[in-house]
Symmetry: C2
Subunit: 189 residues, 2 copies
Amino acid sequence: MNSVCGYSIAEYIQKLTDFHGNFAPGLFIGGYMVDIAKRHVCQYEIFDAICESPACLPDAIQMLTPCTIGNGWLKIVDTGRFAIALYEKTGGHGVRISLDAAKLDAYPEIKNWFLRLTAKSEQNRDDLIRQIIDAGDDIYSVREVTVSPGLLRKHKHGGRIALCVSCGEAYPEEDGTVCLACQGMDIYR
Amino acid sequence: MNSVCGYSIAEYIQKLTDFHGNFAPGLFIGGYMVDIAKRHVCQYEIFDAICESPACLPDAIQMLTPCTIGNGWLKIVDTGRFAIALYEKTGGHGVRISLDAAKLDAYPEIKNWFLRLTAKSEQNRDDLIRQIIDAGDDIYSVREVTVSPGLLRKHKHGGRIALCVSCGEAYPEEDGTVCLACQGMDIYR
């Protein structure tokens, strides 16, 4: 495949490097996963996203879909698996895309990287990129899913805001008599 | 202030709308907060970020700094307070910026929006934007902080990858004998 969500390979590599701060193979692969997923949910006007890994993949979703952490349309549910799902936001019907270890025998550099079979210093980045491009859709598993009700987007009602009597800052009143930070979170020394 | 991190106001509004999917006052304000914070940490070559709210503010940091959720340089620590911190990544020394409710009396539209004193339908967006621009740095509190050791970036060693005997997918072996999802997470029906 010579494009990722409408970007040429070179454009996508530039875009991900600008956003992510450096080139990451997982983010490059993530672009292909988002590309496949978007083809499956194109009938939905609005979709949400789940990312099963906190590393790299969330940035592919944020760069290539309207779903971000800050707008709440992207949720990270850390299962440790290299997978994403895009789904219609109210019913939860959608598609899950995962990089499939069982499909990597023809792509040794991808397999080495994914399963950490070789040290990073022994990996050949050019070969890795070439194999990801050559593989196209072949190395992913695609599964229809319905997201569990507990994870579907809730309509936010916007509760009352209070001023914390301890730190003086504004916080959601429903959090308690003082803000969560003053209830004992260890953030700043 | 007529610029946000080098962007003109119009450019920044376009940029945030493109990334976030719609205009959000909190994200517009977040741009000013990041602008102030960056002026304080410009001596550091590499800095990390903490965002104390999961709504809007993370996107300002992701758009205007190299820190993203996917590269791990941005952490969300949900205290419910409208604040961010940028800090030198190893020692944790940096600066915390918060929108200060005590400084909003001269900016009634900002106060109404921030403390939810009026319904969204009664807020005047143009006045709100104008007051945010007019206020410049005046409505924020700036505090030097040292981030707690538990939140500082760890060097990732990249443990072994196993194939889950239940779902067959690759996962970090240290998570257990099966992956976290197969240990009972409720994600898909």
